[in-house]
Every structure is written in C-alpha cells, then in structure tokens.
C-alpha cells in the first residue's frame, strides 16, 4: 500500500519522499484556493501549504490514512491572509451579469439568467457569512471533505462541524447572517489578519 500516511512516515527518514505528497495533492489544493481567491493567490497558497506541512510533519494525525484534510486545513489557514482577494472575487460575482452564463443547449435562456442571478445572490451571502462558517461550508462543497475530514482540518469535533454547516446553509438560504458577522472586507489588510485561525475559533 502507498497511502498518504505511508509517504509521510517514509519522509521522516528520507525527506525527499515528501515530494510524492505534493505530486498527489498539489492540484486539488490549487483548485480549491483558486476557486476561493483566484489564481495568483492559489499559486502562493499551494506552494506555502506544502512548505508548512513539511515543517509541521508532526501535526499530521497518524491515525489517518488520507492527508487531504490536514492539507486543506493548512491551506484554509493560509487563505485567511488573502481575505481581500477573496472578498474582491465574491463582490465581482455578486455583481456578475446574466450574460456570463454559457449558451447551453439543455437550458433555456431564462433558466440561465435565473442561474446567474442565483449565483450572484449566493456570492453576496457567502461574503456576508462569518469566516468560520464560510470555511466550513467551502471545505464541504468545494474541497469535498466529509464531516470527519472537516473536523480534522479545523481541529474541532464533528458535532461542531455539523452545527457550523447547518448555520452556514441557513445563511446561504435566507441571507440572514448573525449580527456579529465579520463580513469580508476589501480593506488593505493582507498582512495583518492571520490570527483568526479556524481551529481556534
């Protein structure tokens, strides 16, 4: 067998083995980061994720075979530094005009316009949601992690994941964010806001 855990174990003795983990998962980490904050950010976040992972090999839970939750957790932390890029992207999507929808033969124009409008609404609500809920929701919907995987990624119990997800989905559905919501802002704050790591929140 050649699981992620095997690779990580081997890389304790022969560090070069760790590159195999990069080859295996760099693409999905990149794609997740690019969906959240665009390509330029994804470039940095992907590279940095594996550097951090390599430095903190001991933080990998050896009870797990799959390293993806661990890697997505690191990437999610790193993405916090780029909240401005993410906010900009969501803002642009919230404004996005229906013409962006593709000329798909299986759907009528009206349906496309509806879909575009719905996406714009979604982007707006995503932006308004507390960061911790957004992280949870996107680890679920975009990183395809299971509840258990998200719990590992964020360092919280599965029950907490469940309640955060249901809260996030409620906001997505109704647009009603809690009053304390730390809405993503586009203010120039790229270097200052790493503190609120999801696992401690």
């Amino acid at each position: 067998m050649n699981t992620d855990r095997d690779i990580i174990r081997r890389s304790r003795d022969s560090p070069a083995e760790f590159a195999a983990l990069y080859d295996r998962h760099a693409s999905v980490i990149y794609r997740y980061a690019a969906r959240r904050a665009g390509d330029f950010v994804a470039d940095d976040v992907t590279s940095e994720t594996f550097l951090v992972a390599f430095e903190c090999l001991d933080s990998f839970d050896e009870a797990r075979e799959d390293a993806r939750p661990w890697l997505f957790g690191i990437a999610t932390n790193l993405l916090r530094r780029h909240h401005r890029a993410e906010a900009r992207l969501l803002k642009a999507m919230a404004r996005s005009a229906p013409r962006e929808a593709g000329a798909d033969s299986t759907e009528g124009v009206a349906a496309q316009v509806d879909a575009a409008a719905a996406t714009a609404k979604l982007a707006k609500r995503l932006k308004a949601m507390p960061a911790i809920d957004r992280d949870t929701l996107l680890l679920y919907a975009w990183a395809d992690l299971s509840y258990e995987g998200i719990a590992d990624a964020m360092g919280v119990p599965v029950g907490t994941v469940r309640s955060r997800l249901s809260r996030a989905r409620r906001i997505l559905r109704t647009g009603l964010a809690p009053a304390t919501s730390d809405e993503l802002e586009e203010t120039d704050n790229d270097h200052g806001r790493l503190a609120a790591a999801p696992r401690n929140a």
Partner: protein
C-alpha cells in the same frame, strides 16, 4: 436546484494549475527539503506580482470555460466494463502495433529527439473586468541520450502569443508577454517565458527525475506490471483522490506516460491496453489532424461534458502523435468543436544535441 448544488457549481470552471505553476511549487518544496538539491530557485513569484497590477486573473490561467453557473450534465460511461468497443479496438491495435514496430535504435552517442509543438489557450479578466482570450505557442525539443543516466538536453523555445480576440486585447497581451520575458531572473536562471536550453543528468530537470507513471521513475520502469489490469489497478491506487474522477485521472496519467518518448515499448503497449479498460474512454475521431498529420483520437470527456481530452495515435506505428483539448459545448466566443489547446509530438534519432 438547491443552494448547496448551486454552490457546488459556482466557480467549478476553475481549472487545474498550469504545469509551470506546479513545477515551481514543487521546486520550492525540494529546496526546503534539501537546500543543496540543486533545484532551481523560484522564477516566478516576483515576476507575477508585477503582472498582477495590470491584470487580475479571475479564472484559471489556461483553458477557461465561461459559464460555470450552468447545471452540469450527468455523464454516463459508454459501458461499465471499460472503454467503448471502438476505442478498445483502436487501443488494443495500437498496443499490437507498438510491439510489432520496433523502437528506433539509439546508438551510443546518439539521442532520441522528441520534438513538441504546442498551442495553449489562455484567458484572463483584465483590470476593467473584461474577459480576454488568446492562444500562445511554445515549442521544444528534448534530447534523450542513449545512456539514460547521461546528460539530457531540453531546448525550450520562447513562449509567444499567436491568436487574439481583438486589437485592443492584443496590445495588452503582447505587453504582458514582453514584460515577462524581459524580467531578469536572479542569477540568470531559467525564465520559462523567454525559453532557453536546460541540461540535466538523467533527465532530472528542475531537480526531479523523469517519471513514467506517478511514483515510478524512468529508470525503474521495469518494475511496473505489464498486465493491463494490474497496471490500471496500480494507477487507480496511486492517483486515489486526485483529479475530477478516478477514471479521468487514470486516463490523464496514462497520457502523461505515453507522451514521454523514452518509455519502453512493452510498457507503452500495456498502457494502451490499460486505457482500453477505463470506463468512459471513447473513440472520438477517426480522422483527427494534428499539425498536418492524421491519426485516431481516443478521448475522455470531462465531468459535465463541456470538453474532452484526446490523445491522437498513429494506428500504423502505435505512436502518440499528439494531444488536444476540444470543446463539446458552445461557450461565448467559442463554439463546440473548438480545439482549445493541442500538442504535436514527433520523435526521431539524431547524432547530436545543442
């Protein structure tokens, strides 16, 4: 559809990272692991920041499809047991031809030359919010020595934009490329936009050995199973969790392996036969043309059915003569059938390398 489904569709058009980006990240990691490994320093992060000021890349750098908000079709594999019957026949014949047609003999001192012509589609959103499409070309020649552990030479020509959607964006794109090429890399290191000649013992360009399959380097190629099912099982195991679907990832892994000119013929044949066992693989085009040569295109549609990745095989020799990425649906500015990017591959034996 419900909100969660809609959320899943949102920005699902973001593609996989360009190979250069992945190589750069891998390089940075290798330098961290072993600072003396000789991996080349980052050539990009500084340069890219400069570009950011003018352009905000809002979607994948290459192969971007607009319209990710539209519901994805459910794709049903042609048959559960493996590739479609036609595709399986083509692949198995290619395997037989590969074995029958002996590989070119590379004598001591000679090189196997793998000549690659590539055209990529690019897209970005400029600072005024307009989506721009263009195509760029990058050609290269890889010289693989008879003794695989000797020095390999890779001449990478400069990357140039070649097709533009309009005059206005043309000026922007040309300026961006000129800026990237002129950018001086620290200590005169390799700038992929500007091109140049790379040399590496054993083909370990950018600090890592050439791989025939993920997890197996070229020099260990003999250790891979030649039984197609066993080979495919191994590929599934090693690519577990990667890619959009296990089948697509297996197909792409095999394409990656076939692309390299140095894979032994018996392994190439096993790769064809393994591809014939992947559900969803179809015979896409009996008369596919790539850079003026004709072959048979074997392809795998992407989930959602928006586009398809093809490899193009010369049925008489069993050689892969090219690859392409073709649209299956109409997108704004790009109707179904548009080839978004393609690569043509020619191999020959030569007496010297640059």
């Amino acid at each position: 559809m419900d909100d969660l489904q809609l959320l899943r569709e949102m920005r699902s058009d973001v593609g996989t990272p360009p190979p250069a980006t992945l190589a750069r990240g891998r390089n940075a990691l290798l330098r961290k692991i072993d600072p003396g490994s000789g991996a080349m320093p980052d050539d990009g992060s500084r340069r890219r920041r400069v570009v950011t000021r003018r352009f905000t890349l809002a979607a994948a750098a290459a192969l971007v499809l607009v319209g990710g908000t539209v519901a994805a079709d459910v794709l049903i594999p042609a048959s559960k047991g493996g590739a479609s019957a036609e595709a399986a026949e083509v692949l198995n014949k290619a395997a037989a031809a590969t074995i029958k047609t002996s590989d070119p003999v590379v004598k001591p001192g000679q090189y196997l030359k793998v000549d690659t012509k590539a055209v990529y589609g690019g897209s970005l959103v400029n600072s005024s919010g307009k989506q721009i499409f263009w195509k760029s070309t990058q050609n290269g020649q890889l010289y693989i020595p008879a003794d695989l552990s000797a020095e390999w030479v890779w001449n990478r020509e400069e990357r140039n934009p070649v097709e533009f959607q309009d005059e206005e964006s043309k000026a922007d794109i040309l300026a961006m490329y000129a800026q990237q090429k002129a950018e001086r890399t620290p200590n005169g290191e390799f700038n992929p936009q500007a091109g140049g000649v790379l040399r590496a013992k054993g083909g370990a360009f950018l600090g890592h050995e050439p791989q025939v399959l993920i997890g197996t380097s070229l020099k260990d190629a003999a250790s891979l199973p030649r039984d197609p099912q066993k080979l495919l099982d191994l590929i599934y195991e090693r690519t577990k969790g990667a890619g959009k679907t296990p089948e697509l990832e297996a197909f792409v892994t095999i394409s990656d392996g076939l692309r390299m000119g140095a894979v032994p013929a018996d392994l190439r044949a096993a790769m064809y036969k393994a591809a014939a066992l992947i559900p969803g693989v179809v015979m896409a085009d009996k008369q596919a043309t790539v850079d003026g040569r004709k072959g048979i295109a074997i392809g795998m549609p992407l989930p959602g059915g928006g586009s398809r990745d093809d490899i193009i095989i010369d049925p008489s020799t069993g050689l892969v003569i090219g690859e392409r990425d073709i649209l299956l649906k109409d997108y704004p500015g790009a109707p179904a059938g548009t080839v978004q990017s393609w690569t043509a591959i020619k191999t020959s034996v030569v007496d010297s390398a640059p």
